[in-house]
Symmetry: C2
Subunit: 343 residues, 2 copies
């Protein structure tokens, strides 16, 4: 515990325990390969010295880090929190450590973080969504780092993914809304550039409109950052046009909560005056008044399965296999029924 010059090394332990460094190393990594008596001696030495293995040295020698990196677009809101939590729990169980970085939805920042994490020896990487410069995938392939994408399922993408079909999910929400009688539909979306989730959700709405005789071109989604204030401002702006939409579909729950705020500012009642929907079903969705009708995403399941698959890829050096998760529409009280839905 004294503040001596430098942290103790394997050598120090070996000397104290009167064994070779190899034996100490074995004590740590495969204890059953060393005699109980020696092991005891070594363990004592480790304790009294307060020895912690140097990770970098370990990595250099063994080429493994038992670290998984994840880069998420933001920590500012809870969109990724629950999924990531489950991801990390599952990793921990399997003896891996999770390192998280956030890219603030910036492509260059993400690329930098990827390189950082790889250089740091991440055994595998979890990325959100498929949209990014293909060069990055080249780099990752060259470095032999397995990658798994979450929050977006795609069978055609270059890397495996555990996620849901954003387009189909949004489409069924929109179709349900149309079935409830909504025709004047507006949309507040996240920024779709470099973000397949946002892009596909817009497409999903258009699919639904086209399938039910509404002109998809008239949707004209407004795109903005995923935060409450943007959502509120966009909503207020949307309501100044006429005719007013009867329904505002939002790209996610955060934006939808913003829209709710906007309605509140305008003195509009939800859902009586206007209906609003979200996407993700984060905790927030049930916390606002009225509770948000939204698309439920199985975040924990996604995180857990992603961890299992990624570790599998790392340990068995195999290609990952994609999995599509089901989403469900949560009908709560932010949407009004405009006409009998049984027609």
């Amino acid at each position: 515990m004294t503040d001596t010059a430098a942290p103790p090394t394997l050598d120090d332990v070996a000397r104290l325990a009167r064994v070779s460094t190899a034996t100490v190393s074995r004590c740590i990594n495969s204890p059953d390969r060393v005699a109980a008596s020696t092991r005891a001696r070594v363990e004592t030495a480790i304790k009294t010295l307060g020895y912690t293995p140097n990770f970098a040295a370990r990595f250099m020698a063994a080429k493994r880090t038992f670290t998984i990196g994840a880069i998420i677009p933001t920590m500012e809101n809870a969109i990724f929190a629950r999924g990531l939590q489950a991801f990390q729990e599952e990793l921990h169980q399997r003896g891996y450590t999770l390192l998280v970085s956030s890219s603030a939805y910036k492509a260059e920042a993400e690329e930098e973080q990827i390189r950082t994490l790889v250089a740091r020896g991440a055994d595998g990487l979890l990325l959100i969504g498929h949209d990014r410069d293909p060069q990055i995938y080249d780099y990752l392939a060259q470095q032999h780092v397995p990658v798994l994408v979450a929050w977006s399922y795609s069978e055609t993408a270059r890397v495996p993914s555990i996620g849901f079909d954003n387009r189909a999910a949004m489409r069924s929400l929109a179709e349900r809304m149309i079935a409830l009688g909504h025709k004047r539909i507006a949309m507040i979306s996240g920024i779709s550039e470099q973000n397949d989730r946002a892009r596909l959700r817009i497409e999903g709405v258009k699919d639904a409109m086209a399938a039910h005789g509404l002109d998809p071109e008239r949707l004209a989604p407004v795109e903005l950052p995923y935060d409450v204030h943007s959502g509120a401002a966009a909503f207020v702006d949307l309501m100044s046009h006429s005719p007013r939409p009867s329904l505002v579909l939002c790209g996610n729950d955060v934006l939808a909560v913003g829209a709710l705020r906007g309605a509140h500012q305008l003195g509009l009642k939800v859902p009586e005056d206007v209906s609003i929907t979200g996407f993700d079903d984060i905790e927030l969705a049930q916390v606002v008044t009225p509770e948000l009708t939204t698309v439920h995403v199985p975040h924990r399941e996604m995180g857990r399965k992603a961890a299992q698959e990624l570790v599998g890829m790392v340990e068995e050096k195999r290609q990952g296999v994609s999995e599509k998760l089901e989403t469900t529409i949560m009908e709560r009280s932010s949407v009004s029924i405009l006409r009998d839905q049984s027609e």
Copy 2:
């Protein structure tokens, strides 16, 4: 770009550029110490090979990582998000990378993460709050890793902190509430064990009560995890007692939002039937109805200053200096005035 055997190393670059490894290393670390022509040659080699320095090797040789670790209690809600975001931005500007782990409010988990981060060569560590096993500070001292605490200011603690006075902040909020005429006060707190922020906020309320002739012993705060559902359940339970409190002080905004939900379930109007306050002033506080009266914490400022101080400690190898940040009471609409406050 081809998927060759192994990632390129410094040696490969040196060979291709027909220089020594030392020169390549210098090109990367102090470009001005090498002739422009050579540098150009080396840079081309780096590009064509797609070389990325191996971080572990670098760390071993240089003993620096330009990495700062932060361990926060949770990512599940946005309590730490904004501050951490500012922290990371400031670090990035200074050439450091931030690695984040979450301890899920578990002491052992935190300890493990600390060791992991240190073993990984974090040049410095940001921790939340002061309460933890003193041995950890011994370990950190032995390993010569600078530590800074945030979210809680203390002048007596063993390590420096950039934060606010949780006790005083909560005390002034409580005093303000008492001035508004509230006497039947209840409190929903976070779990105070191993959490000085929670503990001090309780103390703050008791201070205020004692100073105004109310018996602090009657506060009997209920302690539970910081999540909306717990808050709601606790609130419902609290309201079943009589006499009902006129004010429920909550340990943070998340719990307060929970209380709001609880009131909603019970059909109670806030603030007419009962007043509720939070702490932190996260985005959520302004997003719920009614907007939450709460204590505003300068999260971004805290994050920024913490980064500056911690980097200073790392680079100048000096003791850190603590700083107390001011909090302000945000009076919004979740509190009612029971009597003329000018008395």
